[in-house]
Symmetry: C2
Subunit: 252 residues, 2 copies
């Protein structure tokens, strides 16, 4: 079964990515020139540039006008290359971990001002609040509090409480996750966190708040995840050219 034909530039990017991680181009090595790559792959320079652009935002190579591109990545060691927007379950599987989830509560309700703001709904609109505990290989590592707009919440409410991945199930129902804005900080565990995660109240937890939207720009979730210290870390790459990250004051 042939998959849906990938664009040319993705094939080229995949090839180069593989060549780099396979060690054909070590750290600090210089890539072939764009014109040369265009000849060897039999495509135009524009396509090569599109592929190299992807490697650039992945942080695998640098580029500066006038000089050959230089390989940045792993000096022999593995530097995990992260793709796309990933749900907890998908990320866990990609790490060779077994993701689990237990839905503690699903409550319909009316949007507070904060929820309404993040979901772009009128205050008081019907929403669903879901509280879940997420596990890796059976060990609780994260508490997830998510607010869904009604149309999405209804789907979630109907799911098996032990389902490992809500995201997969939602996509099967046509709810797609396209863009997300994340805010990461530290917050003390409250009583509920402490009980669910088996830590002490007041312990510092790694918090990720996230608003996700579908391809049309409609918010599909507003979530607040709290991770036990030492279980996960977040990684971000950025470049002078491709702005992808920032700090912000307070946790507001």
């Amino acid at each position: 079964m042939a998959g849906k034909a990938a664009p040319l530039y993705r094939k080229v990017a995949g090839d180069l990515r593989a060549a780099i991680t396979a060690g054909e181009y070590g750290s600090g090595a210089r890539l072939p020139a764009e014109d040369e790559l265009a000849r060897t792959y039999g495509v135009s320079r524009g396509t090569i540039r599109q592929a190299l652009g992807a490697l650039r935002t992945d942080g695998l190579v640098t580029s500066r006008r006038g000089a050959r591109r230089v390989v940045l990545g792993g000096g022999g060691a593995r530097l995990q290359s992260f793709e796309e927007l990933r749900s907890f379950a998908r990320w866990a599987r990609s790490q060779g971990e077994e993701p689990g989830g237990r839905t503690v509560a699903v409550d319909p309700g009316q949007a507070t001002e904060e929820e309404a703001y993040h979901l772009r709904l009128p205050v008081g609109e019907r929403i669903f609040r879901v509280l879940r505990v997420r596990t890796l290989s059976g060990v609780p590592v994260m508490v997830e509090r998510t607010t869904y707009p009604e149309r999405v919440g209804e789907l979630v409410a109907a799911m098996d409480p032990g389902l490992a991945s809500h995201a997969d199930e939602l996509e099967a129902h046509g709810v797609l996750f396209s863009d997300a804005l994340h805010t990461i900080d530290v917050v003390p565990a409250d009583a509920a966190d402490a009980e669910l995660l088996g830590c002490r109240a007041g312990d510092g937890l790694l918090r990720e708040r996230r608003r996700s939207t579908d391809p049309a720009g409609l918010p599909v979730e507003w979530s607040q995840d709290r991770y036990l210290p030492g279980t996960v870390a977040f990684t971000v790459r950025n470049s002078s050219g491709s702005r992808a990250m920032g700090r912000s004051l307070n946790g507001s």
Copy 2:
């Protein structure tokens, strides 16, 4: 004095960005088609696409084949748009805060295995370790432990201990920061952190570890910053198309 001529696509991107934040296109509004923008700006469609690509990675607009682009950003409210790779001092100033710094210690030494790995140097190579306390409006908010390769460390060692921005000074000496890989997690404060930040040992601190490289791909610093809870949060955007972020196991 005319500034160095900005590329066309940046002007277009700036124009559109301004139009969006000025409210000409509210949240959910549809942008003009690429062809129309190309005509109104008198440039080719490729240039328009380059500009729109920048807005896309900024998280200002979505895009899907077949449909007009949709504005994502703030529903009337300010959604701070972060640019580029920023030093602590520059970021603070952009937030209207007064950044400060106090260099506690500068020690020449030999690279440990970890330092050597991150700076891509042989173990035992000469490096400089710098310990600084960073303040906002005079209040300590962060402890910064940075390891520099010798050529950079020598410059830092010669700087005024009260200098607010090492990055500005380094750039003036031709040391440029181009790419960075950040890892964010939570770590308990040690005795030194507690004293310098005025918290208790064991308190959870927000930790950012960072390796920065120059435009040629050479590492220029390996840093570990520890922030007092509640002082800063990190924000990240990502999309299905432009991969920019990931989680990783452990803090290793």
